[in-house]
Symmetry: C2
């Protein structure tokens, strides 16, 4: 029995675990190293500070704690945050007023997924007071609703409308000798040919058709295929939305100015964020990446709490918040989780 519970807490005795939890909670609140005296009065354990000191020394030995200097209290390491997060109760809890804000937000009907997501980032950052991010649903799985060529004076635009309301466009430089009529003809065929396909499939179809068609239409189709390929390639790479980024520079978050800059820099590199959020998409319901656990160099001092959302169980995208290592994981996890649930319901409703 004793060993069982020790294993359940990750090799730590019940008491060590209790002390560690109390310490992390306290540190998250104050940002100051925590001492044994303080812990003795707040941890709820009926032991003396001296006993706690012994435990703290052991926890430091185990790598859960650090001391800035000998006469300071202890601060949590990455390991301690990880431990803390892993033992958090999975039931989200949000204050009534906040829960209400979430519900109200999703009551308004919004046009398309992107628009809903933009609002969602603002909602999340208002709730958590951290910066928030959202990875929009990948176009890879969306299906084409319409596809046509549009002449704009000198240039020609390929327009692709997806079933979720998103629109992608590319300039295509059609061959010099293609007439207005050629374009019309090809354009008419596109929608019927590609409707219901993913972009990837449509690209292949375009290439195949080009081979089986006479010039000059074949040349136009090849260009269309190229443009579709470009849309396909960029399909995931384009949409990371941010909200409440001023929170990063705010008081409660990062101590060092340099860290603030690093985080802003990381946020500007979309590809890195994408990688991060896509990882989170595969670990429902909520994934927490603490410090170095996230894959972005230069974000060692930041943690990310993220959750996938989607209609009917499939992950469409990811939302999350980004904050300091000593972020308030309990509220952040609750907020992200609840918002992800409601968001899933909202996109489901949109799709039906």
């Amino acid at each position: 029995m004793a060993t069982t519970s020790a294993r359940a807490s990750g090799q730590l005795s019940e008491r060590k675990a209790a002390i560690l939890r109390a310490l992390v909670r306290q540190y998250i609140r104050t940002g100051e190293p925590v001492g044994s005296e303080m812990l003795a009065s707040t941890s709820g354990l009926r032991v003396s500070p001296a006993t706690i000191r012994n435990e703290l020394a052991a926890l430091e030995e185990l790598g859960y704690l650090t001391q800035p200097h000998t006469s300071a209290g202890r601060a949590p390491t990455h390991l301690a945050y990880r431990f803390f997060v892993d033992l958090l109760p999975s039931r989200p809890h949000l204050r009534g007023s906040e829960r209400l804000a979430v519900v109200q937000f999703f009551e308004e009907a919004l046009a398309d997924v992107d628009e809903i997501l933009r609002g969602t980032t603002l909602l999340l950052s208002r709730l958590t007071r951290y910066a928030s991010l959202a990875l929009a649903p990948s176009l890879k799985e969306s299906v084409i609703a319409r596809c046509e060529l549009i002449g704009l004076g000198s240039s020609t635009l390929l327009l692709v409308v997806f079933d979720n309301g998103r629109v992608e466009k590319r300039l295509v430089d059609v061959p010099e000798d293609a007439t207005e009529e050629d374009l019309e003809r090809v354009s008419r065929s596109l929608s019927s040919a590609f409707r219901g396909m993913t972009v990837g499939a449509a690209k292949q179809e375009a290439d195949r058709n080009a081979a089986a068609t006479r010039e000059p239409d074949a040349a136009v189709l090849r260009k269309v295929g190229g443009a579709l390929g470009s849309i396909d390639a960029a399909a995931e790479a384009e949409h990371v939305l941010l909200g409440g980024v001023a929170n990063i520079a705010g008081e409660g978050a990062f101590d060092r100015r340099e860290t603030v800059r690093e985080v802003y820099e990381a946020l500007e590199r979309e590809s890195a964020l994408l990688h991060l959020l896509r990882e989170a998409a595969s670990t429902p319901p909520v994934s927490v990446m603490i410090g170095a656990e996230n894959s972005i160099p230069g974000m060692l001092e930041a943690s990310v709490v993220a959750a996938p959302f989607g209609a009917g169980g499939g992950a469409m995208g990811t939302i999350g918040v980004i904050g300091p290592l000593r972020m308030d994981y309990e509220s952040a996890i609750s907020a992200v989780r609840i918002v992800a649930e409601r968001l899933s319901a909202a996109v489901e409703a949109l799709r039906s």
Copy 2:
């Protein structure tokens, strides 16, 4: 003659002006208050520090300078920056390598104005090491190239393609009793009816047509009119692009952490930025707003350098950079100006 040049320099004697210029330049470089000794050696004037001290005392009296404390040097006030900027030579000068970067950037052909602008913000922030902003061309003056209704399962999307390649879309909740065919029929009429119009004009046309048409098409047209009105209303409000915002938290820029947060907050409020950039649109070639001169509360510690761009003389939009009061106005102005010129040429080429 003496009075003339005094007036030209804004009531300051030649020598005061020279000293003030040297001081501002120095302060911009170092961020440290500047003393009389330093000025004596760098201003190029052949006078002693004592003389300079007399002049500095007078300049302080006039409101151009402040002293953090008695034994510090002097720092410029807003007035001094304004004076400095007003006397800057209007010929832009950029280092060869930077000029090359600008030219190279605009050699690549890009799909639409938004895409070019997004790249332009990155270019500007790389050149200046400040955050950059761009106000995209208003749709008010763009003209509709195509307009149609697209059914997406349960909902219907109104799609409007503009001649500059931009695409706007709105969900329209068509009347329950409208059939697939009704929609098709209305949709076919839209493009031919609205081509070449601005959104505003198209909205009026739709409303007029609705009145002159039989049900059920009239009901659909009314909805389309509503959606067009919404696009028209949002036409200007939607597009402020940002680039290089990490620079705001960087070393060279703002001293106080609180200021950094304020600026980020201001950048998140699009409406404020819009107002700012629209003002700048009317003062070619380059406008400089120093501290309180910009209309955004909470940005007293920031300056904005902005320039309008556009094809054929008309202002389409605005680009600019935002930095600290002690921003390097000379480079910033040069960079913004040259980029605006090239950008104007690029959109002109796009349109032709």
